[in-house]
């Protein structure tokens, strides 16, 4: 923690940053996103198992710093979002200073105590506990115990179902959706100025929260994130209806890996999956 605060202070004092996005505790001792605008503010910075939020979302939401760059405290997974944003022209690498943090897993249910059972889904298959890309690196890696990947088991089970069973599964899930768009708001890669769901000429997706419209919304969102989603799972965490959105995004992520051996947000210079092609792309499904 001291390391984090020291670096942050130094960044302010050397006038390199305009503000730093990080985590701080509120008066109820809950860890929340916090923007430090001065050296003094950085005293409040914390990082622990409750630092679950993907702060990269603020990079496109907050106004640009008046002077200096934007500093951001980020876990390995969050840094993938930052790289993705750079790959997609949303920010320039030179405009951010990334304070990477070694991460020892974060909570799933923020209201409950962190434990082996209460560990976020993404941590169960995390490969970037030590970030792969950063300007500064703080914190230490400790041994962590991970629970089994139940999410994956559900995905496999779904894969083995018949079309009708799958449809029924999702119908039951999507029925619950209230179109609050929390999933979109919390997603660092949902940076469109006007979302397709808000478009009325034509209205591709019913705006009322009917199951039909919910199907369209969730499918289109998953499709628009195909080959792009970096798996931070903030959408599922934010969903008040507890729809297992991670299943959709993870499925598409696996397509990207299996068909193209591609992981978005791992390399700034890597050509994006959508937007490029290979003449030898698989086409066994095309008559």
């Amino acid at each position: 923690m001291k390391q984090l605060i020291d670096i942050s202070k130094e960044l302010f004092e050397s006038k390199q940053v305009g503000y730093i996005i990080g985590y701080a505790e509120d008066k109820f001792k809950r860890v929340k996103p916090f923007v430090a605008y001065s050296s003094l503010d950085t005293e409040r910075f914390v990082f622990n198992n409750n630092s679950v939020n993907n702060l990269a979302v603020y990079l496109t939401r907050l106004p640009k710093a008046k002077e200096g760059k934007i500093g951001i405290v980020a876990k390995g997974c969050d840094i993938k979002s930052i790289i993705a944003l750079i790959q997609e022209n949303q920010i320039k690498r030179d405009d951010v200073i990334i304070i990477g943090v070694n991460c020892n897993s974060v909570v799933n249910q923020i209201d409950e105590q962190f434990s082996k059972e209460n560990t976020a889904i993404k941590c169960k298959y995390c490969q970037v506990r030590t970030p792969a890309h950063y300007d500064y690196l703080v914190g230490e890696i400790k041994e962590v115990e991970l629970p089994e990947d139940k999410n994956f088991a559900i995905m496999q089970k779904l894969d083995s179902m018949s079309a009708e069973e799958k449809w029924n599964f999702w119908e039951a899930e999507f029925e619950k959706c209230v179109k609050c768009y929390a999933c979109r708001q919390v997603c660092p890669l949902c940076y469109c100025e006007q979302c397709i769901v808000d478009k009325s000429m034509p209205r591709w997706i019913d705006s009322s929260a009917t199951t039909k419209g919910n199907f369209a919304w969730n499918m289109i969102r998953a499709f628009h994130l195909s080959g792009r989603c970096i798996g931070c799972n903030e959408c599922e965490r934010a969903c008040p209806a507890e729809i297992p959105l991670s299943l959709l995004n993870r499925k598409m992520g696996m397509v990207a890996i299996n068909e193209f051996n591609y992981r978005h947000g791992t390399d700034i210079n890597q050509p994006t999956l959508i937007g490029n092609y290979n003449v030898n792309d698989k086409e066994d499904f095309i008559m």
């Binding site: 119908e171 369209a216 068909e259 959508i274 008559m287």
Partner: protein, 149 residues
């Protein structure tokens, strides 16, 4: 109505240069086919947005066919390559939510493949007919029609 023989509704999105022209050739050659398909002409398979397909299903299509130029034959050089990459994701996504691949078909049909076009269209119609109506959306459409008390 219930006893009426099921006739599938098929929407086909085809590119202007290869498949649409191939379908023209099927016509000029008087190659007979079933009447279930409705073609929507777009310049290129690159123009075909997956939302079109979702919308077609929502509107009652029992099957959707997407067809364009063979690889390397695209009138716009690379449109079909980009389309193909999208399809790889989209069809697996649809399959995952329960719209399986026996309702969504893809084909390359060139301007000279009138016969292939007929085979593709009839093949799709037959297999969707065998599969039966797509009730998923029909059920949801009904739900909307019921007035809320």
């Amino acid at each position: 109505m219930e006893n009426e023989k099921f006739e599938p509704k098929i929407v086909a999105f085809v590119c202007n240069w290869c498949t649409y022209t191939g379908a023209d050739l099927a016509g000029t050659s008087r190659l007979k086919q079933q009447t279930n398909a409705r073609l929507i002409r777009v310049p290129c398979t690159g123009r075909i947005d997956p939302v079109f397909i979702i919308k077609a299903f929502e509107k009652g299509a029992d099957g959707v066919l997407v067809s364009g130029c063979h690889p390397n034959d695209c009138h716009y050089n690379t449109g079909n390559f980009h389309a193909r990459r999208r399809w790889i994701f989209f069809r697996q996504l649809l399959d995952f939510v329960g719209i399986d691949s026996s309702r969504l078909y893809f084909s390359w049909v060139s301007a000279s493949e009138g016969k292939k076009w007929v085979d593709v269209v009839d093949g799709v119609i037959n297999s969707v007919r065998e599969k039966g109506p797509f009730n998923g959306y029909k059920k949801l459409n009904k739900e909307i029609e019921i007035p809320v008390k």
